[in-house]
């Protein structure tokens, strides 16, 4: 999958300085955007704190917006109560770079396919089964999801609804543990 942050220009090494000795505005802006991505990688999801907003693929783009920086944030689930908290965390943490505006993306759906490979690894390490790739036709097809603890597929879907809107609850018959899954959307 194409990652938005990889679309940013590669670091050129050293700041571009214009003839007048002042930083060239386009280069300064690119530096600012790169710095924003570095900070965003450190902002944890409030409900899955081992993953960052970037791991979850929630940041679509960082772009200049007049004299401000606009961060395009994609909600994982529309009813996610942590959304307002994430907005204010982004505004606070990026404030060192100047004026920041968070825009909630509505013209494109966040899907679980946007979770990065690192994000999937971190989910697994935190005891969550990662979602299957692609859209599922039938919720029942989630049965047999590999257990994140023992990797057995002798598991059942206990409920498609869990402690947060983004999680389903499974049960592993092999290690007799309930476990949660980030459910595919």
């Amino acid at each position: 999958m194409e990652r938005d942050d990889e679309r940013l220009p590669a670091r050129s090494g050293g700041r571009v300085v214009s003839a007048g000795g002042r930083p060239d505005p386009p280069a300064a802006r690119a530096d600012n955007e790169r710095a924003a991505w570095v900070i965003l990688r450190e902002i944890a999801d409030p409900e899955l704190p081992t993953l960052s907003l970037v791991d979850l693929g929630m940041i679509r783009r960082v772009r200049p917006d007049g004299d401000a920086l606009c961060v395009e944030l994609m909600p994982t689930f529309l009813g996610c109560p942590a959304l307002a908290m994430m907005e204010s965390m982004i505004e606070q943490r990026l404030a060192v770079l100047g004026r920041v505006r968070v825009e909630i993306v509505r013209d494109e759906a966040w899907t679980t396919d946007r979770i990065t490979p690192e994000g999937r690894d971190k989910l697994h390490a935190a005891g969550f089964a990662p979602p299957p790739r692609g859209e599922i036709a039938d919720v029942a097809s989630l049965a047999g999801t590999p257990c994140p603890y023992c990797n057995s597929t002798d598991t059942t879907l206990h409920s498609a609804f869990g402690p947060t809107p983004c999680r389903a609850v499974h049960y592993c018959r092999a290690c007799r543990q309930p476990f949660e899954q980030f459910k595919p959307v």
Binding site: F77, E135, V139, F161, G162
Partner: protein
């Protein structure tokens, strides 16, 4: 977009948002009161999703008209959800200990399934809206709604195919639900404009027939009656009168109670910033 089309679309968006908000609120009342723990969680989660969808449609409405996005600053008769979604189904908390009064789990299941199937058809029509912002936003909602619809179907199958007690309850509640479920399709003012300009390209009557077409195989498999029969080619003759009014702000006493509750904090100080 002509002013007439914009007005009609604003009305349609408000109807969707109000449906989702009110049903979402009613669903969350099952938290701690459903027959099993998993259903406490499921209904709470579904309710949370619906309120999120309402928030999205209110935001689209704001983009369209510039009207204040705060949905609470309205009188009860300014809400245009269908009355079907406003009926309380969860038990009322009673300090005396009889928490089961008014509880109606079978009706909650019937309503959720009939509503979600309606919503699925409505959303799939809006996916083709000529207003791109709406068509694009709906994709996200559809991905979440899939879980709701399959949850409702699972319970319908369970009640229809289980023992006689569940089956009888289901049949009785369906009978009671039909006039209200059919009123989900109460036409909105300006529907002709919305269809002609493909802003909301499927009219209420056509939507209702699509809904019945989707219910038909499910209900046939369970030998459950529908409130009508297939008429001419593709059409339906519906034999139950729809209990309309909600889309025009005429609601039931249950709505008065809910409106009082859900706006009570807001009304304490409408100018407060949260």
């Amino acid at each position: 977009m002509t002013p007439a089309a914009r007005n009609a679309l604003a009305r349609a968006l408000l109807a969707i948002a109000d449906d989702e908000l009110v049903l979402g609120y009613r669903n969350t009342e099952w938290t701690g009161a459903a027959p099993v723990l998993e259903e406490d969680v499921a209904f709470s989660s579904i309710g949370q999703d619906e309120v999120g969808h309402a928030r999205l449609f209110y935001a689209l409405l704001h983009d369209l008209t510039g009207a204040p996005a705060d949905y609470r600053a309205r009188r009860p008769d300014e809400y245009c959800h269908a009355c079907f979604v406003e009926t309380r189904t969860a038990p009322r908390y009673s300090p005396e200990g009889d928490h089961r009064g008014g509880s109606d789990w079978a009706y909650a299941i019937v309503r959720q399934y009939l509503y979600d199937l309606f919503d699925a058809e409505r959303l799939s029509a809006l996916r083709d809206s000529s207003w791109d912002a709406l068509a694009e936003a709906v994709d996200k909602v559809q991905r979440e709604e899939k879980y709701h619809l399959q949850h409702g179907r699972m319970w319908l199958d369970r009640l229809a195919g289980g023992g006689p007690a569940g089956r009888e309850r289901l049949e009785a509640e369906l009978e009671r639900a039909w006039p209200h479920a059919l009123a989900l399709f109460e036409p909105l003012d300006g529907e002709e404009v919305l269809v002609a300009e493909r802003l909301s390209p499927v009219g209420a009557r056509e939507l209702r027939d699509r809904w019945l077409e989707r219910l038909w195989p499910v209900f046939s498999a369970h030998h459950l009656a529908l409130p009508g029969a297939r008429g001419g080619p593709g059409g339906w003759n519906v034999t139950v009168a729809a209990a309309e009014g909600g889309r025009n702000g005429r609601h039931t006493p249950d709505w008065e109670d809910l409106w009082n509750e859900m706006t009570s904090v807001y009304r304490l100080d409408p100018a407060a910033v949260w």
